[in-house]
Amino acid sequence: MSRFVYADNAATTPVSPEVIEAMAPCFSEVWGNPSSQHGKGYEAKAALDDARSRIASCLGCRPDEIYFTSCGTESDSWAIKGAAALMKKKGRTHIVTTKIEHHAVLHTCRALEKEGFEVTYVDVDSDGIVKMDELDAAITDKTALVAVMYANNEIGTVQPIREIAKLAKSRGALSFTDAVQAVGNLEIDLSTLGVDMLAMSGHKIHAPKGIGLLYVRRGVRIANLIDGGGQEKRKRGGTENLPYIVGLAKAVEIAVARIPELDKVREKRDRLIDGLLRIPYSTLNGSRENRLAGNVNIGFEFVEGESILMWLDMAGICASTGSACSSASLDASHVLLAIGVPHEKAHGSIRLSISHETTDEDVDYILETLPPIIERLRELSPLWEDHLKTKRN
């Protein structure tokens, strides 16, 4: 295999050398327990506080509003269950979310349904943007939480979070956004965004797997996640993962600083979209304008996504059929079905998620590799055969 092109950055990213360098001292020197009452502990506590402050200033919040977790899923799950437990005391037992959330949110909501909560899954339009009138209509005086993702992991569409947060607040509900795909891809300023909670993950922005965070606005007293020691203001006990927290701080700083460079990523994304749409019977899934800088999601009729991925993989190109988390599932993507893509087209959709590291040569290589793969698979496809026959008649 001569070439390697990683176009699955929405699944995970490699840890950047700067992040590794930032973490290294936490293994060799700054290895103390931040809770210890001695020099080694104070040193670790200082590194922890420093990391928290730096992240807070990148996101526009206070350091004490940041709670470190192990991943985006943990943050999602904690935010929703923690808010549900808090609001239940006030007689609010209803959650509003959307049909295109990540499974970390959808399955948490499903779990709460079993505990007696009511959940409304609001529709999105064919562009993949939440229908604000439906969202508005779904909120009642029983609504505890409005949970809408910032940017979708499969089709990259960006939701109007500011308006959603405002709407939730005006109705006495809390708001939460899963920003796992958004941090580093969009300007996020928590001081004006208005959400009560926001989740993010490290490994999507070149920090290691195993670190994430949950922002909780000061004064919002969601239920504890882990009762234990005094870490994370007693809300999530357990000795802090200092090396990864320090790595996360570095990764967030770099990601935020590079936001102005996203125009270059967007150019490459557009070149990919335009080039791939030249393949007959192909469609872009999700809004063209309102999408993440690195997200391409295209459906090819008459072929199936996994077969496309296998050929791409053999050509050294890493892509995905949507969410890596559902690759074991045979069902078509719930996101694509929600935006109205029919089953067979949904099965033939692939996601390419590029990054700052993607080069023009990478884009060229994808553009020359994909068309013959689609052609080859169509030659195998009975649907293509039927289509050609119908066309002839």
Partner: protein, 145 residues
């Protein structure tokens, strides 16, 4: 999904791909909802021997590989011998399939049965075996993580 070398071989070099215009029997199974559709064409001689067969498949790597292997296994056999080829035989010949993909081999077995039934009907003979029902949910609920 990581596949065996044999599966990869049949996926990258599928045998017996194509359509047969004057086929003696054609079987199409599966549906777009599941993401797999398989069609098998048979040419059968007067002794009920499958002298040629071809396939077309819309589906994942496992679906393509099982179709290819299934056509290899039934070629040259009588239709009665071909009916003995179960999905387990196809899976074994492919040196295994991931559990979540075993349903693809069931689809291949079903496609053969439908093609043979079609041949028997066309030649005015009874179909002395039961045809599997087309089931939307033959793969059941899979756990996601």
């Amino acid at each position: 999904m990581q596949y065996s070398e044999k599966v990869m071989d049949h996926f990258t070099h599928p045998r017996n791909v194509g359509e047969i215009d004057n086929a003696d029997g054609v079987g199409t199974v599966g549906n777009a909802k599941c993401g797999d559709i398989m069609r098998i064409y048979l040419v059968v001689d007067e002794n009920d021997v499958i002298v040629d067969c071809k396939f077309k498949t819309f589906g994942c790597g496992a679906a393509i590989a099982t179709s290819s292997m299934a056509t290899e296994l039934i070629k040259g056999k009588t239709i009665w011998e071909a009916l003995e080829i179960t999905n387990a035989v196809v899976v074994e010949a492919l040196e295994g399939l991931p559990p979540v993909k075993v349903h693809c081999s069931v689809l291949a077995e079903d496609a053969i049965k439908y093609a043979i039934a079609d041949y028997l009907k066309r030649s005015g003979r009874p179909v002395p075996f039961e045809l599997p029902e087309d089931d939307d949910d033959h793969h059941g609920e899979e756990d996601e993580d």
